[in-house]
C-alpha cells in the first residue's frame, strides 16, 4: 500500500515539485553544507599538500625559536580527568610548555589530585580559587600568571594527541596576522553510548569539516574552549575572557574585531569527553545554543551593522551563524506547517524521502571528513559509518528541538543569565548589566 503510494508519488514528481516538497534540503542544507564543504575541500586538500613545505618551514621556525607555551586548564570538579591530560602534555613533541591548572572552587578531590600532580612535576602551577567564580574567571586567573608567548586553552576533560601542540602553533609561524588557532576537537569516549557515537559523527561533520571550511572561507566564528591557541599579547590586550556561557565564541569575535585572523587546524587533535546520555547532552546543547542569541545577536550585534569599523568577513561569520543556525532552524517548523497544509496525505512519504536524502548527505559528508582527516582517524571512528542512516533523526529531531527551545527561551526569558554554569552572584551582576 505504502509502496504503491510511494511509487505513485515519485512518478508524479517533477523538478519543480521536488523543489517545492524538498526545498529545505536542496536549497539550503545541501547547498550550504554538503556542496560548499565539498567545493572548499576540493581546493583545500590539494592546497594543504602544496603548502607542505611552508608547514615544514614553520615547524623549523617554531623549534628554532622554541617559545614558552602556556597551557591553561580551568575547571571545576574535573580532577579525575587531569592525570591523563597531564600525561599527554608530557608526551608532546613540543616540550617547552608550562601547564597551569586552575581549580574553580571544586568541592571534590580535585585539589588533592592537582597538588599531587604538582608534587610529581607533571604540571607547572596550580591555582585554586576557593570561591567559585565561573569558568571565565578561572581562565583569567591563569592568564594573569602565564609567561608563555602563546596560550593554549584546554578543557580539563580533554587530552591531546602527541603532536597537537606543535600542529596548533604552526599557523602562527605561517601568518603574522593570525591571532588564534582552533584545534580539532574529537570525541574521546566514542563507544560509550549511542549518544557519544552520534556526537562523534556530528563532531567530524561540524567541527573537523565545518570549521575547516569556515576557516578557509575566513568566516570561522569560534575557537573551541576544549582546545584553542591564542597569542598571549592579544589575550592580555583583551584582559582575557568575559563571563560565559559561550565565552569561547565571544573571545573569538573579540579577536576578529581587533583585526586578527582566526583559523582552524584540523590536524591538531584534541580528544574530549562528551556527554554520555541524551539528557546530559540536551543540557550542554541548551547552554551552547543560548549563547548564540546572547553573544551574536545581543553583545556583538555591531558586527552586523554598518559602521566605520565594518568588516565583511566578521559580518559573514556572524551572519552565517545567525542565518543558518537561528533563522533556518525555524524553517523546519514552517516546512512542517507547509506539508500539513498543502499535502497532508503524503506527509509520511515526504518525511521518508527526507530521511533518505539527509541520510545520503550524511554519508557523503562523512566521506568528505574521511578524505580530509583519514590519516588521523581511528578504526573505531571509521566504524561508525553504520550509524550514519540514523543521524538525520539525531540532528533533524533531537538537536533541532533543543536548539529551537534554547533560542526561544533565550529570546523571551533570557535564561542564560540564570544558568547555574556561572555562580549566582556573577549571573546576577551580568543580568543587571547586559
Amino acid at each position: 500500500m505504502l509502496l504503491d503510494s510511494f511509487s505513485e508519488f515519485l512518478s508524479d514528481l517533477t523538478l519543480l515539485k521536488a523543489l517545492a516538497y524538498f526545498w529545505p534540503f536542496f536549497l539550503i542544507d545541501m547547498s550550504r553544507y554538503l556542496l560548499l564543504d565539498f567545493i572548499v575541500l576540493i581546493f583545500y586538500i590539494p592546497k594543504r599538500y602544496r603548502k607542505r613545505h611552508a608547514y615544514a618551514a614553520a615547524r623549523r621556525r617554531l623549534f628554532r625559536e622554541r617559545p614558552l607555551i602556556s597551557v591553561i586548564v580551568p575547571g571545576k570538579n574535573e580532577g579525575k580527568h587531569l592525570a591523563q591530560l597531564a600525561r599527554t602534555l608530557t608526551l608532546q613533541s613540543y616540550k617547552n610548555i608550562e601547564s597551569i591548572i586552575v581549580d574553580d572552587g571544586s568541592d571534590d578531590e580535585t585539589p588533592l589530585i592537582c597538588r599531587r600532580l604538582l608534587r610529581q612535576g607533571k604540571i607547572t602551577r596550580f591555582f585554586r580559587n576557593e570561591i567559585r567564580g565561573g569558568k571565565a574567571s578561572a581562565a583569567n586567573t591563569a592568564l594573569r600568571y602565564v609567561r608563555g608567548k602563546y596560550v593554549i586553552h584546554l578543557d580539563a576533560d580533554s587530552h591531546l594527541s602527541p603532536d597537537a601542540i606543535e600542529k596548533v602553533l604552526l599557523p602562527f609561524y605561517m601568518d603574522d596576522r593570525i591571532g588564534a588557532v582552533g584545534g580539532d576537537i574529537r570525541v574521546a569516549n566514542v563507544n560509550s553510548t549511542l549518544a557519544t557515537r552520534f556526537q562523534t559523527i556530528e563532531y567530524f561533520k561540524t567541527i573537523s569539516t565545518g570549521r575547516t571550511v569556515s576557516s578557509e572561507l575566513g568566516i570561522l566564528r569560534i575557537i573551541g574552549g576544549a582546545f584553542g591557541a591564542f597569542r598571549t599579547d592579544i589575550l592580555q590586550r583583551l584582559y582575557g575572557w568575559d563571563v560565559g556561557p559561550g565565552l569561547d565564541g565571544d573571545i573569538t569575535m573579540k579577536i576578529r574585531k581587533l583585526g586578527y585572523k582566526v583559523v582552524h587546524e584540523p590536524f591538531a587533535v584534541c580528544y574530549t569527553n562528551v556527554p554520555d546520555s541524551f539528557r546530559k547532552l540536551a543540557r550542554q546543547r541548551f547552554r551552547w545554543n543560548r549563547s548564540l542569541v546572547r553573544f551574536r545577536i545581543r553583545k556583538h550585534r555591531d558586527i552586523l551593522l554598518p559602521s566605520k569599523n565594518f568588516n565583511l568577513s566578521n559580518f559573514l561569520a556572524s551572519f552565517d551563524n545567525i542565518f543558518f543556525n537561528l533563522f533556518l532552524n525555524m524553517k523546519w517548523w514552517l516546512y512542517l506547517a507547509q506539508l500539513l497544509i498543502i499535502d497532508p496525505g503524503h506527509i509520511e512519504i515526504i518525511m521518508l524521502i527526507n530521511l533518505v536524502l539527509y541520510g545520503v548527505a550524511n554519508i557523503l559528508e562523512f566521506g568528505i571528513a574521511v578524505a580530509l582527516l583519514a590519516g588521523t582517524m581511528y578504526w573505531r571512528e571509521l566504524a561508525l559509518f553504520v550509524y550514519l542512516p540514523l543521524i538525520p533523526l539525531y540532528t533533524g529531531f533531537y538537536i533541532r528541538s533543543i536548539r529551537s527551545l534554547a533560542y526561544l527561551l533565550e529570546f523571551v526569558c533570557r535564561v542564560s543569565y540564570f544558568d547555574k554554569w556561572n555562580p549566582w552572584k556573577v549571573s546576577n551582576v551580568v543580568r543587571n548589566l547586559e
Binding site: 602551577r125 591555582f127 585554586r128 570561591i131 565561573g134 584582559y239 552572584k425
Partner: protein, 471 residues
C-alpha cells in the same frame, strides 16, 4: 591532731611560734604521721624553696614525698608554675596565719588519710618514678591539668608533678603516657602542641617558604575577581588612588561580595620570583635553631590526667609492670606462690630419685624502668621484643614467673646449671644487645643460677641477688 611542720634550715622571720621547725636533714627522724603538712618558706630567691620542695618530693619514703607541702610566701610575684608546684601557699605577713594554717590542715586531711592507707611495698622505699607519680596523683585525688609555661622548654608543665622528676631527660609526659597506657590514669584532651624533633623544645617558629628555593622572603597578594567582566588580578592591579578600579572594564569596584570577591591569595618569592599559592611551611626551633618540616616535628597531645580505679588500687598495693603484662599475654607465666610450690615439688623429686639435675634461674633486668621513661608508649614494642627473646629461649617444660616489676624466675627441669647458664647467657646477650645497640639504654641483667635442691629458699635467693647488686 596533725600539726604543720616548717622545713627550713633557719626559722623564718614571720611564723607562728607554736609551729615546729626542722631542717631537711632532720625530716627523716620526724614522726611524719603527726604532720598535717610541711611548710617551705619561699623567700625572694624562690629557687632555694623550690629546691627544698624537690628534695622532699624525690625522697623514697612515700610518707615524706607524698606529704602535703605549702609555701610560706614573703613576696607575691612568684611564677605560677612554681606556686602551683606545692599543694598551696600562705603569706608570711598574714595576720591570720595560724587560722589559715588550720584551714589548710582541715582541707588537706583527706590527702593525709589517703597517704595513711598506702602500704610499704619495699624496705628500700618507692624507687619507681612512675609509681611515685601514680601515688602522688592518687593521694591528691584531683585532675592534673597542664599549664602553658614559657619557662619550660616543653611548653606545658604539670607543676605539682615536676618536683618528682629528678632529671630533665625524663619527661613527665612519657611517664604519664605510660601510666595512661596501663589504664592507671585516664586522660582528657586539653590541647595539641608541636615540639622540636631534635631537642623536644616546644618553642617553634612557623613560617612560610618558597617551595622552589626555600626562601622565606615572600610577598602575598590577594586575587580579586570582578564579577561583571570576569577579570581576575592581584589587588594591586585594581588600586587607583584610594579606589579599586577594574583594569579591564574600568569600573569602580563597590562592595566586596556584591560586585567582586577575593578568590584566593598568591605568594611571590622575592628571591627567585616564583609564584605559588601554597607556600611550604617550615618550623625553626628557638632552642636548637634547626629548621624542620612541621610534619616531622613531634606532635603531642596535651592532656589532663586523673586516676582510675585500677590506678588507685595499684597506687595502694603495687603496680605490675608493662613488661609483666606483656609476658603474661605471651608466655605461660604462673603466679609467684604457685612457682614456689612447683619448685618445692621439683626439689623433693630430685632429692628422692637423685638421677637428674634441674636449675633455678633468678634474673633481674636492672634499668628496665628507663625504657618506659625514655620511650613512653613505644616501650611496649621493646617489651614485646624482650618477651619474644624469652619465648624463644625458654622450652615448653620451663616454668616461668615474675616477681615485682623486674625479677624473673625460671625453673628449668632436667637442665644442669651449665646448660641453664648457656641458655640464659644467650638470652642476656640478646636483650642487652637489643637495648644497648638499638636504644642506647644501659641495661644489666643480674642473675643467679643454681641447681634445684631442698636447700634452696627462693625468697632468700632473691633478696641476696638484690642486695648484692644494689651494693
Amino acid at each position: 591532731m596533725r600539726k604543720p611542720l616548717i622545713v627550713s634550715a633557719t626559722a623564718p622571720e614571720h611564723f607562728p611560734h607554736d609551729m615546729a621547725v626542722c631542717s631537711f636533714a632532720e625530716l627523716g627522724a620526724v614522726d611524719i604521721a603527726a604532720v598535717s603538712f610541711l611548710i617551705i618558706p619561699l623567700e625572694a630567691d624562690w629557687q632555694q624553696g623550690y629546691a627544698d620542695l624537690q628534695r622532699i618530693r624525690r625522697h623514697v619514703d612515700f610518707k615524706i614525698y607524698l606529704c602535703p607541702v605549702l609555701f610560706l610566701l614573703s613576696k607575691k610575684n612568684i611564677p605560677p608554675e612554681i606556686l602551683q608546684a606545692a599543694d598551696g601557699y600562705v603569706f608570711a605577713d598574714s595576720e591570720q596565719l595560724t587560722k589559715e594554717c588550720n584551714t589548710w590542715a582541715a582541707r588537706l586531711e583527706p590527702v593525709n588519710a589517703r597517704i595513711e592507707q598506702l602500704k610499704i611495698l619495699s624496705d628500700a622505699g618507692d624507687s619507681s618514678l612512675a609509681f611515685k607519680v601514680l601515688r602522688f596523683i592518687e593521694t591528691r585525688d584531683t585532675e592534673f591539668k597542664p599549664i602553658a609555661s614559657a619557662r619550660e622548654q616543653k611548653g606545658f608543665v604539670y607543676p605539682p608533678l615536676l618536683p618528682l622528676f629528678p632529671k630533665d631527660d625524663i619527661s613527665p609526659f612519657q611517664v604519664l603516657d605510660y601510666l595512661e597506657s596501663q589504664r592507671l590514669l585516664t586522660a582528657t584532651f586539653v590541647s595539641r602542641s608541636y615540639s622540636c624533633t631534635h631537642c623536644d623544645c616546644a618553642f617553634l617558629n612557623f613560617f612560610e617558604t618558597c617551595p622552589d628555593c626555600g626562601s622565606n622572603d615572600l610577598r602575598s597578594e590577594e586575587l580579586v575577581h570582578h564579577f561583571k567582566c570576569a577579570y581576575v588580578g592581584e589587588l594591586s592591579d585594581f588600586i587607583q588612588g584610594e579606589h579599586l578600579v577594574c583594569p579591564k572594564c574600568e569600573t569602580r569596584l563597590k562592595q566586596l561580595g556584591v560586585d567582586h570577591d577575593k578568590a584566593s591569595v598568591v605568594f611571590h618569592c622575592n628571591a627567585c620570583s616564583s609564584i605559588f599559592q601554597e607556600p611550604k611551611i617550615m618550623t625553626s626551633c628557638y632552642n636548637c635553631w634547626r629548621e624542620t618540616e612541621p610534619e616531622n616535628q613531634v606532635s603531642r597531645q596535651i592532656q589532663a590526667y586523673s586516676i582510675t580505679a585500677i590506678g588507685m588500687n595499684a597506687a595502694r598495693y603495687g603496680m605490675d609492670s608493662l613488661l609483666q603484662s606483656i609476658l603474661e599475654s605471651k608466655l605461660n607465666v604462673i603466679s609467684h606462690s604457685i612457682f614456689k610450690k612447683i619448685l618445692k615439688l621439683e626439689s623433693e623429686r630430685i632429692a628422692r630419685y637423685k638421677i637428674s639435675t634441674s636449675s633455678i634461674v633468678i634474673m633481674r633486668l636492672a634499668g628496665i624502668e628507663t625504657i618506659y621513661e625514655k620511650l613512653g608508649r613505644r616501650s611496649s614494642e621493646v617489651f614485646n621484643e624482650i618477651s619474644k627473646a624469652l619465648q624463644e629461649q625458654l622450652r615448653s617444660a620451663d616454668v616461668f614467673s615474675v616477681r615485682d616489676e623486674n625479677i624473673f624466675l625460671i625453673l628449668m627441669p632436667e637442665t644442669p646449671v651449665q646448660s641453664a647458664d648457656l641458655a640464659i647467657s644467650r638470652l642476656n646477650d640478646r636483650i642487652v644487645s637489643l637495648l644497648t645497640t638499638n636504644l642506647n639504654i644501659d641495661c644489666t641483667i643480674h642473675k643467679t643460677i643454681k641447681a634445684v635442691s631442698s636447700d634452696i629458699v627462693l625468697d632468700q635467693e632473691i633478696e641476696h641477688l638484690l642486695r648484692t647488686n644494689a651494693a
